[in-house]
């Protein structure tokens, strides 16, 4: 049984990845073909010809005037998925149509809806405005992860692992030693984990990018909107420096670390990452430093989780694990994902509503959370 929630929005690509050439990526077990039309819109279609399933992203398939021509027999499809040419005959069979996926390009991301297209509501896509804001400078990338997406969720929802797995980069002793507060809004679909370090060692990641020497006040606030978008609101300031009474915060450095966690298959994940900053915005050296270092940190996670996937995949079902206080947020995310999986199944297989948490049985509230 699949562990991937359906009827959800996922990040399929960075917007910059998709141009006028055919681009293929598997999302939630579905092979999908992308290109940017001459009008500038991203289109997403099934990457399988309806005839004999030849991948339309595979040469000699090609794009001609916003139509994709199958490289096997010449079936031709428009950007809406409709078949326009069938080889050797004039009649186009009624079923000769590619699945078309709802797509929204927003905040430098290409979001795709996996599930029933009739249920796709673009207003439910969580926002990450830093990613294409002129007031922030962003570096980003994507690393393939050969591990199930749940392992990356566990990893990112508990940052105490920074002290050990990322020592010397972003980890310092205080990260694993500072108590956390976890908040969960079931209606809005948010898990929020705060870790506020009043007097902490400054890791090289921030010392070299901000120029701060000495100890720091370091805030790490995780805002996760399952199943895909993870935001780490990071605030770094000289030790003891807090935001001003009026809410402004000119004496601190702010970094927004965003991850999009998109399942590729049941056992592999697209690990999209980005780092946005509100300081040294025109300094290419800082951009290069943050890009290189964050990618290094991501690859440290990837290496560890790839090993963990191999271990878990070889374990018998129902293997034992132990959860402790640091896992409070991760467990909340797991439960929310599990409900999404149940909700995304066909009606006759879905979990009875009576077994869901009470908050989920209440009148549906606006998904937009009110934060302060």
């Amino acid at each position: 049984m699949s562990t991937i929630p359906r009827n959800q929005w996922y990040v399929a690509a960075w917007g910059r990845e998709i141009g006028a050439d055919l681009f293929a990526r598997t999302i939630c077990n579905e092979p999908i073909l992308f290109w940017r039309t001459r009008a500038g819109a991203v289109t997403a279609l099934s990457d399988r010809c309806v005839h004999r399933r030849f991948p339309l992203s595979q040469a000699p398939s090609r794009l001609v005037d916003d139509q994709v021509v199958c490289g096997y027999h010449g079936f031709t499809y428009g950007a809406d998925g409709g078949c326009t040419v069938v080889p050797g005959q004039t009649r186009v069979p009624r079923t000769a149509k590619l699945t078309r996926y709802p797509v929204v390009e927003q905040d430098a991301c290409v979001w795709i809806w996996i599930g029933d297209p009739a249920k796709a509501d673009a207003t439910r896509i969580p926002r990450a405005p830093w990613l294409d804001s002129p007031d922030w400078t962003t570096v980003n990338g994507m690393e393939p992860l050969q591990a199930r997406f749940g392992l990356l969720l566990d990893n990112l929802l508990d940052l105490s692992h920074e002290t050990y797995l990322h020592a010397g980069y972003i980890g310092t002793p205080e990260v694993a030693a500072t108590p956390i507060t976890t908040e969960v809004d079931e209606d809005a679909g948010i898990v929020y984990v705060s870790r506020r370090m009043a007097d902490a060692e400054c890791p090289s990641f921030y010392a070299d990018s901000t120029g701060i020497r000495g100890r720091i006040t370091r805030w790490q606030d995780i805002e996760f909107t399952p199943p895909c978008l993870y935001k780490l609101h990071s605030r770094i300031a000289p030790a003891g420096v807090l935001p001003r009474e009026d809410g402004s915060d000119p004496d601190a450095f702010h970094v927004e670390v965003v991850y999009a966690i998109t399942p590729e298959t049941e056992h592999s994940t697209h690990d999209f990452w980005s780092v946005s900053r509100d300081f040294a915005r025109d300094d290419d050296t800082v951009s290069e430093f943050l890009a290189t270092n964050n990618r290094t940190v991501v690859l440290q996670d990837v290496a560890a989780l790839n090993v963990l996937e191999q271990v878990i995949a070889s374990e018998p079902a129902g293997y034992q694990e132990l959860s402790i206080n640091i896992d409070t947020g991760g467990l909340a995310a797991r439960r929310m994902i599990a409900r999404m999986v149940a909700d995304g199944r066909p009606a006759d297989a879905a979990q009875p509503a009576a077994t869901r948490p009470a908050a989920r049985q209440a009148e549906p509230a606006a998904r937009q959370a009110v934060l302060r």
Partner: protein, 72 residues
């Protein structure tokens, strides 16, 4: 979708609430202890030593949840 503004200054040990929805669960890891302090949106609260039992209790709302008595 969410709007985030700067959190107000405060005690960095006990983080200020951020989510303001009607059905928000809060869990504080009590400073200097191994205890987790769970607070339901209904007002009930309880301490736990590990998170699985904690979430079972929170998600069981209203079963076993008794808001604190009002004192005058």
């Amino acid at each position: 979708m969410s709007d985030v503004v700067t959190s107000p200054p405060g005690d960095v040990g006990r983080n200020p609430p951020v989510l303001q929805g009607q059905h928000v669960y809060r869990v504080h890891w009590a400073l200097g202890t191994d205890r987790l302090h769970a607070m339901c949106f209904c007002g009930a609260d309880r301490e736990f030593e590990e998170p699985i039992e904690l979430w079972n209790w929170l998600h069981a709302h209203p079963e076993g949840h008794r808001p604190p008595a009002v004192t005058r």
